[in-house]
C-alpha cells in the first residue's frame, strides 16, 4: 500500500492520512526530512537542536493535518511550521551569532563545486559561506535559504515567512548583497574591476 503511494503527490497522501491511513505519513517524512533538516540546520546550526525541531515540525504537522486547508501546499505549510518553531526556539534561547564549525556533521554529501581538485579551497570557502550566512540577520537569512538553497518560489516564501511578495524580493536582494560583501575577498570577480 505504502509502496504504491510513494510516487503520489503530497495532496493524495494527505487525503489518505485524513481518511485514517495514518501510517502513510512515513512517506511524507521520508520525502521531506532531509530538505527540512537542511533548512533548519542552516537557520539554527546546532545539530541536536535542529534535529529536535525537525522532528517536532513533523509531529505538529501530523497533529494539525485535519486542519490543513489546501493539501497541495503541504510542503510550504510544513516549512512554515518549522520556521515558527525555529523562531520560537531563538526567542527562548537568545544565543550569540556564533557558528560551531566543529559541529559540522560527519556525513555531509560531497559538494558539487566546479573543480573537485580544489577541495581544500572549496572547504575553506564553504566554511566562510556558512559563517556569512550565520552572520546575516534572521529575516534575510530565512529568505536566502528558502530561495537559493531550497528552490522555493517568491510566492511560496511569502507564504512561509508570512510577509508580502515585495518584502521577500527586497530581503533576498539585501541578503545576497550582504553576503557578497562579506565574501568578496574569497569569490571570483573581474580582475579589471578598478
Amino acid at each position: 500500500m505504502k509502496g504504491d503511494l510513494s510516487q503520489e503527490p503530497d495532496h493524495v497522501i494527505v487525503e489518505r492520512i485524513r481518511e485514517g491511513e495514518e501510517e502513510v505519513f512515513d512517506i511524507l517524512i521520508a520525502r521531506y526530512k532531509d530538505s527540512l533538516f537542511k533548512f533548519i540546520y542552516y537557520n539554527l546550526p546546532q545539530r541536536e537542536e535542529a534535529e529536535d525541531i525537525a522532528q517536532e515540525s513533523f509531529l505538529k504537522a501530523f497533529l494539525a493535518l485535519p486542519r490543513l486547508r489546501n493539501p497541495r501546499r503541504f510542503k510550504t505549510w510544513l516549512f512554515s511550521i518549522a520556521l515558527n518553531l525555529v523562531r520560537d526556539h531563538k526567542r527562548e534561547f537568545k544565543r550569540k551569532p556564533s557558528l560551531p564549525l566543529e559541529d559540522l556533521p560527519g556525513n555531509l554529501e560531497p559538494t558539487a563545486l566546479d573543480d573537485p581538485s580544489d577541495d581544500v579551497e572549496n572547504e575553506d570557502l564553504l566554511k566562510r559561506v556558512r559563517e556569512g550566512i550565520e552572520r546575516l540577520p534572521s529575516k534575510l537569512r530565512e529568505v536566502l535559504i528558502l530561495y537559493d538553497m531550497q528552490g522555493f518560489s517568491y510566492e511560496e516564501i511569502a507564504s512561509i515567512v508570512h510577509c508580502p511578495l515585495g518584502t521577500v524580493k527586497s530581503r533576498l536582494f539585501k541578503a545576497r548583497q550582504m553576503l557578497r560583501e562579506m565574501l568578496s575577498p574569497y569569490i571570483e570577480g573581474d580582475e579589471d574591476e578598478l
Binding site: 512515513d26 522532528q55 573581474d190
Partner: protein
C-alpha cells in the same frame, strides 16, 4: 542605466526573471561597467555556491523518533476526517430519533379523546337513523319528565 538599477536587474537576470529588452540594456551596461560586472559575477558565483552547500543528513533513527512522538501524543490528536464525519452523522441521526419520538408521543390520541370521539359518533349515527332517533327522543322526554 545607472549602477543601482543595474545591480537590481542583475539579481533578476540570474533568477531568469528579466524581460529581453531589460536584459539587453543590462548586458550593455555590464559590458561597459567593471564594477557592476564584478557584482554580477560574484553574486552569480555566490548563488551557485549556495545551491551546492552540503546537505546534512538526519540521524538514522529520525523516522522512528517522529513515529514514537506521534504515538505519545496520539491521545490529544485531532481525529481523522472519516471519524469526524461518522461522529457528525451519528449525532444528526440521534437528534432525528429523539425529535421524532417526542413528536409521536405528543401526537398520540389520548383515551379521553377516543371516548369523546366515540360518543360524538354514536350520537351522530343515532340521529341519522329515524327509528333510533325517535327512540332516543322518547327516552329523552321520559328522562326529562322524571
Amino acid at each position: 542605466m545607472n549602477c543601482k538599477k543595474a545591480r537590481l536587474l542583475s539579481m533578476k537576470l540570474m533568477d531568469n526573471q528579466l524581460e529581453s529588452k531589460a536584459k539587453e540594456l543590462l548586458l550593455s551596461h555590464l559590458s561597459s561597467c567593471p564594477r557592476c560586472r564584478n557584482f554580477y559575477k560574484q553574486t552569480l558565483q555566490l548563488k551557485s555556491i549556495l545551491s551546492h552547500l552540503p546537505s546534512p543528513k538526519v540521524s538514522p533513527f529520525f523516522q522512528e523518533r517522529v513515529r514514537a512522538k506521534i504515538r505519545a501524543k496520539e491521545g490529544i490528536r485531532i481525529p481523522s476526517l472519516r471519524f469526524r464525519v461518522a461522529k457528525a452523522v451519528a449525532t444528526v441521526f440521534l437528534v432525528i430519533v429523539v425529535i421524532t419520538s417526542i413528536w409521536v408521543t405528543l401526537r398520540r390520541p389520548k383515551e379521553e379523546d377516543f371516548l369523546n370521539n366515540y360518543v360524538t359518533q354514536h350520537i351522530y349515527y343515532t340521529m341519522q337513523n329515524p327509528f333510533m332517533r325517535e327512540d332516543a327522543m322518547l327516552r329523552m322526554v321520559l328522562i326529562s319528565e322524571k
